[in-house]
């Protein structure tokens, strides 16, 4: 078996993400939109905003991953592409991982890149920490996308599966959200939290593809 089918699945998912409507603009708009709604709800006190900003961004990142993942596998089951991918001889887990990674790249990573700007709007002080946070959002986003991908694959055949994905995936987002928030806080564990965050992401990368693969085989059944 060669890696050609996996690479092709990755390439198709990239093309699909860019071609589907506005590409990365859609999740970016959602991310920015949900984020800027918060100061309107909780008030504009600079100290408050500075304290909650990083956490709000984690929540927005989680939500926008759910919104973008809803269609990933659903479209594949509807147009028959999933049947073709599952017959390439490549492991279903690898196909699923390639597609999910492509979606993180087109939707998750841009959100991380946008984060310094949003944090500045939340009264964060301009410093190198903003770039560190950008890295943390990028790493944590991978875990969000992979666990969210499990929810998306499991509900690929369910009509209006978006709510189901959220219910399934949100408990799995907890460790990432917690370590992410701790890493950006100034508590005693803010030094070790980034390592835990990275470990959580590695765990997601190792475990989630198998669940996604099994779920995709089920979706095609």
């Amino acid at each position: 078996m060669s890696g050609a089918p996996i690479l092709s699945a990755f390439r198709q998912a990239l093309g699909e993400a860019w071609a589907g409507g506005a590409g990365a603009l859609l999740p970016l708009g959602f991310f920015a939109g949900t984020t800027v709604l918060v100061p309107l709800g909780v008030g504009t006190e600079p100290a408050t905003l500075r304290a909650i900003g990083p956490g709000i961004l984690w929540v927005s990142l989680a939500l926008s991953s759910l919104v973008t993942l809803e269609r990933v596998f659903q479209a594949d089951t509807e147009d028959g592409a999933l049947d073709l991918w599952l017959q390439t001889g490549a492991p279903a887990a690898a196909i699923a991982a390639a597609k999910t990674f492509a979606h993180w790249l087109t939707a998750g990573l841009p959100l991380a890149l946008l984060s310094p700007m949003l944090l500045l709007m939340f009264q964060a002080r301009a410093s190198g920490a903003l770039l560190e946070n950008m890295g943390l959002y990028a790493i944590g986003g991978i875990a969000f996308y992979f666990w969210g991908g499990v929810g998306a694959a499991l509900s690929a055949t369910v009509r209006r599966g978006g709510l189901l994905i959220s219910l399934i995936a949100l408990p799995l987002y907890v460790p990432t959200a917690i370590f992410g928030a701790l890493a950006m806080g100034d508590g005693p564990s803010s030094a070790s939290a980034p390592l835990f965050l990275a470990a959580t992401t590695l765990f997601a990368l190792a475990a989630a593809p198998f669940a996604m693969g099994a779920a995709l085989r089920l979706a095609a059944d």
Partner: protein
């Protein structure tokens, strides 16, 4: 050919006497624990006085919240590997009951928390938070099964999700622990532990045992109902095709 029914049949036979026995023993255990907990044992002033009597329902519920999720995950695993029909029926039966005891654990925890910490919901308590996320896992499991159009698909999807959840529970627990260790100012009670006086330990153990037996009896009752429902659906399908 399609001989999966052989095993459920054996289960129904076994549970014919096991279920009533469990109900009776469970009633004895729970009632004795209640009587001891509410009437007999003295209040513990180190634990905030009389309020510690909530323990005799809260601790069994907490134990069952954990044990039922583990049980569901094990059953899912057994089904996934060996495709043993009864294992799937068991996993399906555990989910709503596990959610019930998990909700009981959360509710009694909140009621215990109010007079003790002065708040219904203690965000800094790792155990409460972990149990809450487990409750969500149960809900997701049930919603996913309900969304699938055949029982075979529900079994496969449910098994995958239960196993994914089981993999994540330790991680969730660990992250919540780390999160809450930052906020030590809240005085979390440490009621559990072997150092507890025997007057409390025995009623606690007996009532936990009673709750466990009641849980088992209810799971088996749900399983019997599910087996009969599936059997009826099978016969109905046969009636329609005229076999």
């Amino acid at each position: 050919m399609f001989s999966w029914f052989a095993n459920p049949h054996r289960f129904v036979k076994l549970s014919d006497w096991l279920v009533p026995a469990c109900y009776v023993l469970a009633a004895v255990g729970i009632l004795w624990g209640l009587w001891q907990g509410l009437w007999i044992v003295p209040k513990d002033d180190y634990q905030g006085g009389d309020i510690m009597r909530v323990m005799f329902i809260h601790v069994p519920a907490a134990w069952l919240a954990m044990a039922s999720y583990l049980g569901m995950a094990v059953m899912s695993f057994v089904w996934f590997i060996w495709r043993h029909e009864v294992a799937d029926i068991a996993a399906k039966a555990i989910a709503p009951l596990g959610a019930t005891w998990t909700a009981l654990c959360l509710a009694t925890g909140a009621i215990w928390g109010k007079p003790t910490w002065g708040t219904w919901w203690q965000w800094d308590d790792a155990r409460m938070m972990s149990v809450l996320f487990m409750f969500f896992l149960f809900l997701g499991y049930m919603a996913l099964r309900a969304a699938m159009d055949t029982r075979q698909k529900a079994a496969r999807a449910g098994a995958i999700l239960a196993m994914v959840g089981a993999l994540n529970v330790p991680l969730i627990k660990f992250s919540v622990d780390l999160f809450t260790s930052l906020h030590q100012d809240a005085s979390v009670i440490t009621a559990e532990g072997p150092k507890m006086a025997a007057v409390y330990l025995w009623p606690l153990l007996i009532s936990s045992f009673g709750h466990t037996l009641l849980f088992a009896a209810l799971v088996m009752t749900f399983m019997r109902a599910e087996i009969w429902t599936r059997r009826a659906a099978q016969l109905r399908a046969r009636l329609m095709t005229g076999d």
